[in-house]
C-alpha cells in the first residue's frame, strides 16, 4: 500500500511538535540533536585528522574553526550534546519501564500515568541544562 493510500501524515506529521505536549518536543529534539551530533562527530573526525599533516595544517584548521561562526557551531554542539545526553538518560530509563507509573485502574477523566510530571521535569531540565551549557561554552570561547 502506498503512503497516500494509507493517509500517512508523513515526515511533517512525525516532525510536528506543536500538538501533543512537551513529550513530542523532546522526541523531535532527541532526533535532531542525535543527527546534529552525528554530523559534528563525522566532521570532528575529519577535522582532527589534519593533525597528521603537521602543525601548519592543524593551525590552519584551528584558525578555520576559531571564528565566530565556528564558536557558535561549537556552542550548539555543546547544547545538543547536553540535551541529547540528559534526555537520553531519561529516555533510557523510560524505555526500561522506570518512572512510567504503575498499572492500575484509572478513573475518568483519565490521566495517563506515563505522561507524568517526573518526565516533564526531566525534559525541561535537559533543555535548561543544554541552554546553560551553551551559554557557558559561549562565555568560555568568546570571553578570552
Amino acid at each position: 500500500m502506498t503512503r497516500v493510500e494509507e493517509n500517512k501524515e508523513g515526515i511533517k506529521g512525525m516532525a510536528n511538535p506543536t500538538r501533543y505536549g512537551i513529550e513530542r518536543v523532546a522526541y523531535l529534539l532527541m532526533r535532531l540533536t542525535g543527527l546534529g551530533l552525528l554530523v559534528y562527530f563525522v566532521a570532528h573526525i575529519a577535522e582532527t585528522s589534519s593533525i597528521l599533516q603537521g602543525k601548519v595544517a592543524w593551525d590552519e584548521m584551528l584558525a578555520l574553526t576559531q571564528t565566530t561562526g565556528g564558536h557558535i557551531i561549537l556552542a550548539l554542539v555543546i547544547g545538543m550534546c547536553v540535551f541529547h545526553t540528559v534526555n537520553g538518560i531519561r529516555v533510557m530509563l523510560g524505555h526500561g519501564g522506570i518512572g512510567v507509573g504503575t498499572p492500575g485502574r484509572l478513573d475518568y477523566p483519565y490521566k495517563p500515568p506515563s505522561q507524568n510530571a517526573r518526565h516533564k521535569i526531566a525534559i525541561y531540565s535537559s533543555i535548561v541544562l543544554a541552554a546553560i551549557a551553551m551559554m557557558y561554552g559561549l562565555a568560555v570561547m568568546f570571553g578570552e
Partner: protein, 114 residues
C-alpha cells in the same frame, strides 16, 4: 541480528559514551580551552596512551551509536526490503569508514608519526 541485541548495543554504547565523553570534554576544560587545542598539547595528549585508547573507544562507541541511530531514523522513514537492506549496509559501511579513518589519526599520532 535480533533487533533487541542491536538496541541493547545502542543503549549500551550511549551509557558508556556518557562517561567517556565527559572525560574527553573535561580534558579540554582542565586547561584553558584554547590552550588545550595547541598543537603541542594535542600531540602530547595523543601520545599519552591511555588517553589515546580512550579516544579510540569513544570513536568506536559513538560511531556504532550514531550510525545505528541514523539507521533507525531511516528505516522508520521508508520501508521496503531493498531500501532497508541498503540502509543497513550503508550505515555499517559508513560506520566502518569513520572508525577506520578516525583510528588512523589516533594510531599514527600516538605512534608519533606526524
Amino acid at each position: 541480528m535480533r533487533e533487541s541485541v542491536i538496541m541493547k548495543i545502542h543503549y549500551g554504547t550511549a551509557l558508556a559514551a556518557v562517561a567517556l565523553v565527559a572525560v574527553h570534554v573535561l580534558f579540554r576544560l582542565t586547561q584553558n580551552f584554547a590552550e588545550s587545542l595547541e598543537y603541542e598539547s594535542v600531540i602530547a595528549n595523543y601520545q599519552f596512551l591511555p588517553y589515546a585508547g580512550m579516544l579510540e573507544i569513544i570513536l568506536i562507541l559513538l560511531s556504532i551509536h550514531g550510525f545505528n541511530g541514523l539507521r533507525v531514523i531511516l528505516i522508520e522513514l521508508k520501508q521496503g526490503r531493498s531500501f532497508e537492506k541498503s540502509v543497513t549496509y550503508g550505515c555499517i559501511g559508513a560506520m566502518a569508514l569513520v572508525i577506520l579513518y578516525g583510528s588512523r589519526t589516533i594510531f599514527l599520532t600516538s605512534m608519533g608519526m606526524t
